[in-house]
Amino acid sequence: MSSAAHAANNPAPLDRVSRIEIDLSARPPVMTFWVSSFVWLIVGTILAIITSIKLHAPAFLASPEWLTFGRTRAAHLDTVVYGFAGMSAVGTLIWLQARLCQVKVPFPRLLTAGALVWNLGMVIGITGLLLGYTTGVELAEFPIICAPFFALPYVLVAVACFRMYATKRGDHTYVSQWYLLAVVIWFPILYLSVLACTVFGAVGGVAQAIANWWFGHNVIGLFVTPTGIAAAYYLIPKVTGKPVHSYHLSLLGFWTLAIFYNWAGTHHLTGGPIPAWAITVGIVGSMMMFVPVVTVAINHHMTMKGSFHMLKTSPTLRFTVFGSMMYTISSFQGSLESLRSHQEITHFTHYTIGHAHLGLYGFYAMILFATMYYVFPRLTGNEWSSAGLIKIHFWTAALGTILYGAALCWSGWWQGVMMKDPRCPSCRSSITPNPI
């Protein structure tokens, strides 16, 4: 690397105070978004446990209509996606963008107020769902009245994000920034489009189902996932002290994700009453996703090569590497799951639920925890209080995710095999997963 080129990209290395000033400016909004996300993670998990118990014991909490399965499941989904994943992604986005642009976060008080407005939207949304008000669009079930409560903070975050980018120091756009800028643009397009197609009735019939699953797949893959990858592309090199193994591959990974992911959603409707070509497009898009996934996997592994001993000493790296591995596994699984031959067995089974949770909890949540372990001491000026608790957190989260994912995928597979067997009474397929 020439010294001139390096100087252009690193015009004025930050001194310690400047770095801390950036973190100080980020502290109010980032802490508010992240702490809120933790609250929603707990709420969402309680709703998930209630919903899960109902699968095995339908009489459990069956009397109050606001705790019936259809309501608690929708409330669980939206709480985890918009409360936990959404708010934590926005917190990560603000901090990471400020650090990468090497500028202070603009209007931090306004962003903090935005986080409170987002929380208000969550309260209204969850209450509405439990009272029976829903759009009926999976993963966008919140009543339409909630939309402004998410739109307003999101506009603020988008303006802040682009303002930081416009005033950034240095010329280069780091690979993580590509992901972050894309997230800011993609999510509003997704959400507005699905509302227009479904709630406002621009299309009818099965076309609404296509719009629903185009959105449902992309809200994870083009909102939550890029934030996680962006964090991993920052944390692994930063913690190990080694640049990304192949910067070519990292950018190839971003642009191929941008091009291919958008097409994959219709694979959720394989076997459904929609045009075969639409499903085939979804399958092709899903298979093409091997390209960005493999580039990320190669890059993360090769960057870590020779530094795996650091897993013993760095909590951030431990969580990040586990999350990256789960990203590769769940993405491979997801692509293969799109195939018609695969879905003949796994569709309508617990296998799909296992896959979804491997992605959200195994990949995204672990990368988020890694980011928090790295950033919180820098935001507060204090170290974590207990190494032992961090290690317990890691091992319980990692083992819990593996146990959960493996059990659901294994039992879901055999559930699907039984459902295909005409000699097998249908009730057996729903009873079989219970012991597992």
Partner: protein
Amino acid sequence: MFLVFMIIWSSALLGGLMTVWALAWAIQRGEFRHFRDGATVIFDEEEPIGMQTDFFPGEGPRQAHQLSQAWKGAQL
């Protein structure tokens, strides 16, 4: 309904055009040149290449009091 259709198609068109524009803009800006330089922008003199920057509490050189001292300096 016409308005809704317009929103859908214009947002799809806008999204596609923005992607193409972003790619062209990135190429023009030279984002796809000097890849090794790009990979190093997250490092600086204080946290240079080769330096591990994260440890379990109490197990690395970045101790709590060091952070606090720097923070006090920044907040004054």
